[in-house]
């Protein structure tokens, strides 16, 4: 319970800061922190492999990517990018309604039966990837290929 509370708090604060802060680079860094904490949460839940992937891909990959993007789009005089936002009131209403709805559903639905995660959970994950979710796995690879090619095509400079 304690672990949950601490992790939950950090996650919450991190998320709020990501969406609130005025400096883009700070925002990216807050996101990094949130994602790392999520990895910790995964580990807390005994999903070690996912935790590792989370760190690798998200924190390592995406955050770096975002920083690059931020740097590429900075003003030439090196000033940090200030961002602002508006429409907090209606966003707040919508967010609150969403949360209220989700809460209503969660609290009123019967929870599934409790089971136990065995020791060889990683093996089982691998097996699942290659048996039951094989097709999805293959499509996922194609999707990643497409995304890569797409990104290159979109972002390259047209040579004169």
């Amino acid at each position: 319970m304690i672990g949950f509370t601490i992790l939950g708090l950090i996650l919450f604060v991190g998320s709020v800061q990501v969406v609130r802060c005025k400096d883009l680079v700070h925002g990216v860094l807050w996101l990094a922190m949130t994602l790392m904490t999520t990895a910790a949460t995964f580990a807390y839940l005994d999903a070690g492999f996912v935790a590792g992937i989370q760190v690798l891909l998200y924190t390592g990959g995406i955050v770096i990517l975002m920083l690059f993007a931020v740097m590429l789009t900075k003003r030439l005089d090196g000033a940090s990018i200030r961002i602002d936002s508006d429409g907090w009131l209606r966003a707040g209403v919508v967010g609150f309604l969403f949360f209220a709805g989700l809460t209503a559903v969660i609290l009123n639905s019967p929870m599934p039966a409790k089971g136990q995660i065995g020791e060889e959970s990683l093996e089982k994950v691998g097996t699942l990837f290659l048996t039951r979710h094989l097709a999805a796995f293959e499509f996922l690879s194609i999707l990643l290929l497409a995304a890569m090619i797409g990104a290159i095509v979109i972002a390259r400079k047209k040579d004169a």
Partner: protein, 622 residues
Amino acid sequence: MTPDNYALIILFAPVAAFTILGVCHPIRNRGALAGWIVSAATFATLVAAVSLLRFQWENPTHVFRHEFSWLVVNGKAMATVGWHIDGISAPMLVVVSMVALCVQIYSQGYLAHEPPSHRGRYFAWHALFVFAMQSLVMAPNLLQLFMGWELVGLCSYLLIGYYWRKGEAGKASVKAFWVTKFADSFLLLGLIVLVATTGSFDWNIPTGKALGDAGGAFALAGILLFVGAMGKAAQMPLHVWLPDAMAGPTPVSALLHAATMVAAGVYIVVRGMPVFAASTEVMHFICYVGAITAFIGGCLALLQDDIKKMLAFSTCSQLGYMMAALGANAVDAGYFHLTTHAFFKALLFLTAGSLIHAVHSNNMSDMGGLRKKMPLTFILYGIGAFALMGFPMLSGFFSKDLVLAALQKDGQTIPLILCLGGVLITATYMTKSFLSVFFGEAKSDAHESGGHMMIPMLALGVLSVAAGFGVEKFSAMAGAENPESWSQLLGHFVGLPAIGVGLMVVGMAIAVMRHRGARIGLPVAFNNWVLSRPVDRFYETAWRSGLLVFARMIAWVDRYIIDALMNLVAHVILNEADRSRKIQTGRIRDYVWYIAMGALVLAMIGIFGEQWAQLFGMGGGQ
């Protein structure tokens, strides 16, 4: 050869000719060849019709009928097509094919100077006409009769408009079509009333006690059908199209507007007699209309200088005689007059055509003293004229005699007086025309017409003389109870027949005196009034102030109410679409907002949907 085969030949030989001409225009464009093909088909029709008539001659009351079911309603055929050969249709088939054949051969000569492609077109319409007329005559019910009726109306339009390149013929053909179509709408209404009352188009309706309450409906049907017949047979006041129809070639006037198509108006009354006879009021109406037309038509003929228009009004008048006889319950008299009239009127028109061809003008004032230059035409015109006037021993004498006797027997005094007056006037105008064309000083150079034209005229001349002697058989075929032979008719030569002949002589005398210079005649004021075409002017006024005004009102409603409604719908849609375009701002944040809102709404419905539905009373379902 069974009667079935004959009937098929009668129907389909002309159709075959029409199709050949319609499809192969190399054949059609060689005018004379087209004419001979059509004439061959008509000849085949004639032979088949004569065979049928020979059989009918021996068995006057025999009926031969063959039907194919057509409109099937509730398992029962509401309408059929086929043929119905009896004492009424068999003679008419012969009349139609005979006159048509004569006219077609005549046309070879009359239209010899026309371009071949025009002639081909002309003969194609002739073939169509023969088919249409025969299917009308042979119709087993009023619906097929109506089909033939409309089709002959179409042929009339096409043939009158043969010279359409000169505006007058085009206008005349349209006028003929309009007036007859106006009358035909009444005919159609009559058919509808009939089928609504009896459930079929058969003319054999229940009579006498079985009529019961339906009597009123049958009277209505009868009146409506007769108005249609009035249009086709050019009875007053629907006669206005017939004089104008003379703008067509003379052979066409001879065939359609003297012998056959206008006769269809009389034919439908003959055929549908059970419907008309169901009500005495309708019969009286028919009789009076016929008698009035007979008299006034004659007066109008008297005033004409154009020989064709005179003959047109004469046709009008003679059709009136037939209608009067039919209205007096004498089917045999009316029908017999129809047959004899077909022969001598066609003869008169063809000889008139010969005259017109010779002097290149329609007006009798341009003709004169042609007795010596065109002797054969002189004799033939004389035969036709005397037959029309009712000269003893010629066919017209017997038929007119029957008509007058019928009027007397039925007790129709006023129609009888009008018809007797008509006899006088007929004699006057025919003698007048005879004298002014063939006697007096020669006004222009002329010569006799060629063989193509003379031979048919000779044939018709013979028939005009001889047809009268078949009166007994005709009457029997038409269903009269006591048919009398011509000798018997001559036997009662006192009373009415004598009066008729006497009036004829008086009329001839008046004409001779006028020709010599005496001043007898109708009052000039009356002449001028008639020549100003009052009926036409009435129609024109009715059209302008009545129909057009009504049509304009409807057009207004259509444009400002119905169209406006449509335009309003379009306008509203366009405006709303334009305003809805503002959603597409191109800004991603707005789109994100829309997506979020949409998802929210869907989530709400998904979560709380059932509870809300129950709240609003829409229960059930998941």
